[in-house]
Symmetry: C2
Subunit: 336 residues, 2 copies
């Protein structure tokens, strides 16, 4: 009743295991006579044969597996990038490479432990959507054993192939928009500074403000997490400032939602009393009764480029696809 191994198939058919292996493979199938090939394939199907990928991995030295590190599984943007990545992993609709997905939650040594697991399982590559400076060392070490690709977040010191969004320009877009709308004093509610994303958004935003002569509230405001709860708390800090801004750039939509709810609790209207912009163009952004002005993340591009990097790196191409940075897009809605 158990499923047969390749050896058993071979016995039943009176051929060698190697013939079975080749007949069933993609690349070596031409080495076996068409009739034999068909015979083998038919028999494999109705015997319910299922190749043992652990054995194949061992022999090939390739596990057809990719380690995916993600900072936060609840974050829509990460998930959507992973989704397009996984979709691009399939060849002709057949999933050949299985992702091992693991979450770091930005905990200091989570990444290095997970990377150890990945390497023990002999992943063919690692894609990190979770890089923080704390993991720099772990990723660097890993990159000596296996291709490492960065997505969404980069690490300047490492020079690893990456698929990114132009976060600086994204921040700049928001700033320009707010300036156009006539705001004179603005404010950022920044995400936690451990990832490059938020730093770049802040830089891009501040640069434009400075260039165009718009002031930011003096004290920089950070959230501990990029969540609505944290955004809500952060609004208190905004109101602690000597001067009250007329617009807030929240570093992502989750923070923006927290900010908006907090404003509502204070009886303030968005955007009349305070304009709010977010980042990512989350699903919720469109659903809110005051639809959110935000920056659409180039999800598909980032995911697909990460997959492209993966394929080019494991194929060992010399003119490998390089790092790329994709442009986000400002989505103007009612909130700012």
């Amino acid at each position: 009743m158990r499923r047969p191994s390749m050896k058993e198939l071979a016995q039943r058919l009176g051929v060698d295991r190697s013939t079975i292996s080749r007949a069933l493979s993609q690349d070596k199938a031409h080495l076996v006579a068409p009739e034999t090939r068909e015979k083998v394939r038919r028999m494999a199907i109705d015997a319910g044969y299922r190749p043992d990928l652990t054995a194949a991995s061992l022999r090939r030295g390739r596990s057809q597996t990719i380690g995916v590190l993600v900072a936060d599984l609840e974050n829509e943007t990460f998930i959507n990038v992973i989704r397009t990545l996984i979709a691009s992993l399939n060849v002709d609709g057949v999933p050949v490479t299985t992702p091992l997905i693991a979450e770091t939650r930005d905990k200091p040594n989570a990444a290095s432990r997970l990377i150890e697991t990945f390497l023990s399982r002999r992943v063919d590559a690692i894609i990190s959507l979770a890089s923080t400076e704390a993991d720099e060392r772990a990723l660097e070490d890993a990159s000596r054993e296996v291709p490492v690709i960065l997505a969404i977040r980069t690490l300047a010191a490492l020079n690893l192939p990456s698929a990114l969004c132009d976060d600086r320009e994204g921040g700049a877009m928001v700033a320009r928009h707010l300036v156009e709308r006539g705001h004179k004093l603005v404010c950022q509610v920044q995400g936690p500074p451990l990832a490059t994303t938020f730093k770049l958004r802040a830089q891009g935003f501040s640069k434009i403000c400075a260039d165009l002569g718009v002031r930011e509230v003096t004290k920089p405001i950070y959230t501990a997490e990029a969540t609505p709860t944290a955004g809500k708390k952060a609004l208190d800090l905004v109101f602690d400032c000597e001067e009250r801004p007329t617009a807030i750039f929240a570093h992502n939509d989750a923070i923006a939602i927290g900010v908006i709810e907090a404003l509502r609790e204070r009886g303030l209207r968005v955007p009349e009393d305070m304009a709010v912009a977010g980042f990512n163009d989350t699903r919720l952004a469109q659903v809110l009764s005051t639809p959110l002005t935000t920056v659409a993340y180039p999800i598909r591009e980032v995911g697909e480029h990460a997959a492209l990097l993966f394929h080019s790196l494991i194929a060992g191409e010399k003119d490998e696809a390089g790092s790329r940075t994709f442009m986000p897009e400002l989505i103007v809605r009612r909130s700012a």
Copy 2:
């Protein structure tokens, strides 16, 4: 510069590979002399030895891997159950079992393809947080080869060990609460009927309404997805009814949020003009300026019991831990 294999370690130390294997193992370490054991472990560490789990899997017939099917990676409840599940997979803080996480998005044949992949990779068990009637067959077939555990969603026909929330009672709790608050005509915005969860919530809710003499709007209202967007659309259907209810039970928080935003756009206040209750106690539920009355999902219990089932099943215990259903908890906030 490459990392050494067990064989190379053995040569350097002048002992047999089997000794290395035993010294480094958990369960057979007592078979090797304490000094040898220490010597081996030290050498392993500073040679940077890292066991090859693909080889170990092959030989052991156990991959120390578990297939996790999840319907939706964006759903906080699923993710949180998976998180506690993964945490409970570690023994003494060491991750011994690696989860292979795959998403079905409730697409008809996604589950069976993913299960094929899992089985080819020789997972030790499969945990499905994605079961729909469409996958019944695939899960049943899988359960003949490997332990299959259901979580969150069950399949009555299959009698597989499961870790569940008492969704029926959850629905009932909401109904009782609405009755207590004096509502006479209520309405459900149901989630898609492919999963048991929503059906049970609906049944529990309706039963109590009937028992306590409260009317529901006649036409049942379903959403195509359990998302805010779908919830928003569904509100139109509610207003299409001949009579307007005074309270809405949305089958989860995401739907509830859509409903609330749609109400706001119509200029209606929650809960004064329309009470709204959700399900799951999502993070957002607490953050909203009108905090959401909802049902807290027994996340920890479900995740931990699923892990318990896994451990007991692969240990082959005869008095295996059985299916369990955990009680959710009504969280009364402002919205209803």
